[in-house]
């Protein structure tokens, strides 16, 4: 654990000393709760349509798949046409693209980013390395099965998946969302203990709260 995360005595600007336990004081400990669809079906369908037509991707290139993101934003493929946009902060994004293999160090950051996103949120695993490890099946530093750690809505195969495959993947994801089946955030909240246990098994120095808002 890093020094700045250990409990310590801090002297405030007014001269009063007090004890700080960063993990408890700076973060909220509440675990996620399930947010089921609450509106009548037609409204929920309408909202699902809006959600599907406005996919905001978190601009977090976790692996080599990030290289095909640039062509997607540019003239040849231009994913903006389909309502896909990139947002720089996890708070405003709905779709986390796990673009390729995840080393355990990145997994930690990906989990944090995922938990900071607002539900309903979706995860797309990109490339064979998220499915079964792909090329790195015997590597000591990459995870082999993404859905053990995050609720994945869709996998796109390939090494690298071509931009056309990604566009098709977006279309498929839209179908899933419109059908109301993309409830990954709720699944994550329901099986929270299981996901956390899996995550903690591979991330050895767990120095963050269990749920990052």
């Amino acid at each position: 654990m890093k020094d700045e995360l250990k409990p310590r005595i801090v002297k405030g600007p007014d001269g009063i000393e007090f004890e700080v336990d960063p993990l408890r004081d700076y973060y909220c400990e509440a675990s996620p709760s399930v947010h089921p669809p609450v509106y009548v079906k037609i409204v929920e369908d309408f909202f699902n349509w809006a959600r599907s037509e406005s996919l905001w991707i978190l601009g977090f290139g976790t692996g080599c798949g990030a290289i095909e993101m640039r062509p997607l934003m540019t003239p040849r493929f231009d994913a903006y046409r389909f309502g896909v946009q990139w947002r720089p902060t996890p708070r405003q994004a709905n779709l986390l693209m796990i673009s390729g293999y995840l080393s355990t160090k990145t997994l930690k950051r990906a989990i944090r980013s995922y938990e900071q996103m607002q539900s309903p949120k979706y995860v797309v695993g990109l490339g064979s390395c998220t499915i079964n490890g792909g090329m790195y099946w015997d590597s000591y530093n990459t995870i082999k099965k993404l859905d053990e750690y995050l609720p994945v809505d869709l996998y796109i195969v390939g090494c690298m998946p071509r931009p056309e495959a990604l566009l098709q993947g977006f279309e498929d994801l839209k179908q899933i969302i419109r059908a109301g089946k993309a409830e990954g955030a709720n699944q994550y909240a329901e099986k929270f203990e299981w996901y956390k246990a899996n995550q903690k098994k591979v991330i050895h120095d767990w120095d963050m709260p269990d749920y990052n808002w």
Binding site: F60, C64, A66, E68, P75, S103, S139, Y140, M160
Partner: protein, 392 residues
Amino acid sequence: MVQDLSDRSQYPARNRDGTLDVDLTSGKYLKLWQGPNHPGITGNMSVELTVCGDEVVEGKTHVGYLHRGFEKLMERRTFIQCFPIVCRICVPEPDFNEYCYAAAVEELAGVEIPEQAKWIRTLILEMGRFNSLMMYLGGQSGSLGLGVIGQWTTYVRDLMLDRFEELTGARIYHMFILPGGVRDTLPEGFDARMEETLREAERTMKDVWNVMFQNAVFRKRTIGVGYINPALFDDYGVTGPTARGGGVAKDVRRDQPYLAYPDLEFEVNVARDSDIYSRADVRRRDALQSIDLIRQILAKMPRTGPVMAKMPNMLHWKIPRGETYIRGECSRGEYGFYVVTDGSGYPRRVNVRGPSYTHAMALLERLIVNCNIADVAALLVSLHTYPPEIER
């Protein structure tokens, strides 16, 4: 505008062990993370910044987010099994890994590759360099908010990827340069289509020159910013365009020519000022040079003869004990493979020397001090860092 470099040496004070005395609870300093989840970072790495006002007082590079342990994995694979995974070491310019690995293995095994294969390899490396530089130009202007350049250059890169696809069958990971030669000859009509692509590329480069390099705001943001003292180049192992931007004509293609480079005519591009602008300008001219070199290669290359040397049975290929180092000039600087064999069917040790390894670690940590936070992204991009080659 030149940054004000008046004496800041006492600020913040240093502790006895040389670390900075930064008291975060004082409210004077702020700790910021630029990355890994940050659009201003090149790939998946992060810089831990301690800032005072708008000024960075300390920066630490953190890498390892992309570590897959290639050097370990290759020890468990036979020589031919290593071939498909080496290109994955560096994503934006994968061909250099293939070439360096193949050349190292050939040298240790004593294989001589045919003439035509040499030329095709050179062609692929130049195409890869052009692509990588296009990514760079888009990134550099993007880091300063000029998104439109990125659109144009990525478009040209896509055109060049089409030529790659035609030649090798893949967009990103080509897996074309095998130990012993290359997989195939050029397809029919390749030259004409390549010429078309190159013309389009030249048109775009003209636009890039007008909109990016002649732009008053771009010049204001980059000239004099991110200066590297050329005296530091040897200390920090600076190579490639970063060194050439500071007036040192380091270019492996000229210094220790390999493949078909002795037969090609080109000048080493050099700029003087060693700031972000000169580095960008050197890379722009490198891209134009690549266009010229591709034309030269297509004009001069032999079209007949084999493209693969006679190779032993790959499944039982053993290479006698030895060690070697192969280097090449990739778009970012000196790229090299250090390969050790022990007489078995597996490499004993492979070490990849990527230029980003020295640029983004020790050099960046030094440059980033006293830099404005708004310039950090531009500075980082101007070193042309690709994190996967740092951690592999």
